[in-house]
Symmetry: C3
Amino acid sequence: MNARHALTVTTTLHEIHAALGGDLLGDPARVIHRIAALGQADEQSISFVANPRYRAQLETTAAGCVIVAPALAEAAAQRGAAIVTPDPYHYYARLTQWWAARLRSGQHAGVHASAVIGEGVRLGADVTVGPLAVIEAGADIGAGAVIGAHCVVGPGVVIGARTRLAPHVTLMHGTTIGASGLLHAGVVIGADGFGFAPHQGRWDKIEQLGGVRIGDHVEIGANTCIDRGALGDTVIGDGVKLDNLIQVGHNVHIGEHSAMAGCVGIAGSAKIGRGCTVGGGAIVLGHLELADGVHISAASVVMRSINRPGQYSGVFPIDDNASWEKNAATLRQLHTLRDRLRSLEKKIDTP
Amino acid sequence: MNARHALTVTTTLHEIHAALGGDLLGDPARVIHRIAALGQADEQSISFVANPRYRAQLETTAAGCVIVAPALAEAAAQRGAAIVTPDPYHYYARLTQWWAARLRSGQHAGVHASAVIGEGVRLGADVTVGPLAVIEAGADIGAGAVIGAHCVVGPGVVIGARTRLAPHVTLMHGTTIGASGLLHAGVVIGADGFGFAPHQGRWDKIEQLGGVRIGDHVEIGANTCIDRGALGDTVIGDGVKLDNLIQVGHNVHIGEHSAMAGCVGIAGSAKIGRGCTVGGGAIVLGHLELADGVHISAASVVMRSINRPGQYSGVFPIDDNASWEKNAATLRQLHTLRDRLRSLEKKIDTP
Amino acid sequence: MNARHALTVTTTLHEIHAALGGDLLGDPARVIHRIAALGQADEQSISFVANPRYRAQLETTAAGCVIVAPALAEAAAQRGAAIVTPDPYHYYARLTQWWAARLRSGQHAGVHASAVIGEGVRLGADVTVGPLAVIEAGADIGAGAVIGAHCVVGPGVVIGARTRLAPHVTLMHGTTIGASGLLHAGVVIGADGFGFAPHQGRWDKIEQLGGVRIGDHVEIGANTCIDRGALGDTVIGDGVKLDNLIQVGHNVHIGEHSAMAGCVGIAGSAKIGRGCTVGGGAIVLGHLELADGVHISAASVVMRSINRPGQYSGVFPIDDNASWEKNAATLRQLHTLRDRLRSLEKKIDTP
């Protein structure tokens, strides 16, 4: 049985071209069932060349149609149908969106009988609520939103139009989410921030009384957590994309259109600018600021604010274990080595 | 719409002072609706100065009342109402607790009709069980405990008085939790530890037959996992605070009042002392011991036992990418550089 | 109350020996209630010595029976009953499996009345479905499988025989899992991969149209996430073992019998060979390949493909904070130090 079975669509080049544009070379009546990479494509597949270095694959692919940039139009047309467009990767992105919309069409299913809807909940037009979801009192769900099976939407939570929640999402009270968002399974928004006052050898809890405000077009990956603010709110800007298993601490601000890969941790009160990227597994310490356009490499640790755009890195290079052991041991004497070098320099320069 | 709407309370300085003490300067009848940071406060807000370096904000804040230490009493009183107390941060912590207790008062809701309660379950007085929670046979829930919507409490699990579980918490069989705990959404306690015996190129499962014992006043962050022991138990001491997305392996022991920030990983059989702290993203390898009062900086990796209290760190410093690349490349030759330095030293010293 | 209470079994050495083999020295009628480590064992416990360095504990343990290698048979028999077998650790693993099977026997419970089963779902013989689980249309669950409370099994998902899902597992459409698997609580399979095309300062979503194919005998730890492929599938080979809180990106391939400890992140399109191990907290960047038999140390970052088997490491050594600060500061000048060393070498060698 094929896992992709449910992901096939029956369409034609004519339909694709009518919906998404570009220059269509070849037979508009050609039937397309799949989007596929060049190497996996068959004659019922549409594929794309986003990068000229894959040009060689053009000659060997069995794809029924290939999306290409103008420079490759001739080469592509020699082997079969083609769609020519200035930015094939963007065309491919739009094609996947059109494709997914077709797969989802007709899935609107209303409110499942097993869902538990609290008092005073406002459901917009065409809202879908999955089996056994819980929507607590006073929540406000925008038109066309989808609340997955087993989600828990806390009291008074606000969800914008067309925002979709996969199963098992938890939104605590004090959370607002904008329109056209997508939250994957296991996401937790609005758990308490990590706030304690040390007192006589114990930790006295600082109750977290702020909320979480999330903009429009935000995507949040599976099992990612965004904590509520201590007093003010944690704020996620429009267009932010967060991958899976990310931790966002209390009162963090993430600027518009920033993106973070999996396993990132952003400690409390950090302010991340607009258009930043943070690579997988990176850590940003608390109360720091990153300017707009700062890019942090995977697994790097940001220990000071960064006020200029650019790429920043800090990772111990991997090596065979024996080499690493020798270099790591020497690293623990590095400051001493520097002093020995200085001392040598003095001797040489003042003989 | 304001995410904090649900977090406002109507009270007076008189009520606050009566509940929490301190010296009240100013009008006890003043109405307070919010706790706010100095910069966000309005005249219906109470704020605090925990650190003398924020003294300048005292002059500009619009807060209706400010909590201050005796040294700032005069300055605070000149601008409006004040509460004077030796430790303003601790007073603030207690104020948030009193505030949150008011917000939660009257939320006791009994057992929701949709919850699934197994045979022989013992529910103490005033237990709340949320919608669609599952409590399996023989579980024992202490008085005043709160089991959130969609929680799954395994067979025979013991939960102490007043402990609260947010939605979507999973407690597997063999778990015991003390009193006054707080577990955030998505927490998993008692999943199998990662135990396999290598055998003929495969991994033979070692079934995990221990449990998890968690003390009183323990807080566990969203989506954090604590595995059951292989044979004996995994043990979390009283007053331990764990942030979100932390992994605690089988048979780990965490001493009383230790705290760990988000994304930490503690490998199996590690023993963490009392009063330790572990910064976000740090990793502690298996079978190691950390003495009481050991503090591990964020993103550091503990590869050997540490038997003396103190602060320990190990992080590659972040830099602009070009500088990092040069230094990282050189680091892979560091041992060789040391040898070259030694060789030079010999030449100089024995000319 | 004892967390392990539920994990005791009443058996005899005769029963254990009949089931698992080996040479039994001592009274077959001896009653055994527990498996325990040497130091925690009592006379109703069976214990084991997997490593000769624990030989000394043989003399002091109170265990009613000890599993030992032939070299320790005599020493073990002098103190009480023993089972002698060439690989005691493997015998112990098999004993835990036999023990756990007894604990689970009779737990088959059919389909709970509160579960929500969609149209066209196929349930094999003896399938257990827990309370409030949701199985969507067209899913296919193999004989003897166990679907835990609150699981969500998406439309068309295929689950092999005897595979068990703990509570709160989410399997999205397009997921297939083989036989005899074990997925712990909070696992999310088939969330969207992290795919976006940058376009005019925003991120254009690339809808993720692939699936996830998981082999037989795969174990996946709590809250671990495996994303669906962008076009093709994400593939997890037979016998793979993944610990908790691991992120596996879209189109990753993990070879058979590889194992990864907690908090690991594998970025998109990485190809991990057979029989590899990845230590806790390690990160593997996208599109890299690891050969069969590559072992990555905990918290290391793989930034290039590795085509030879072996152990690889890259971690900044931990130190007291003051020493670390000095060495880390010097590390930022390391390339300059190398140049200074070269310059000195030239001066010395060409005086």
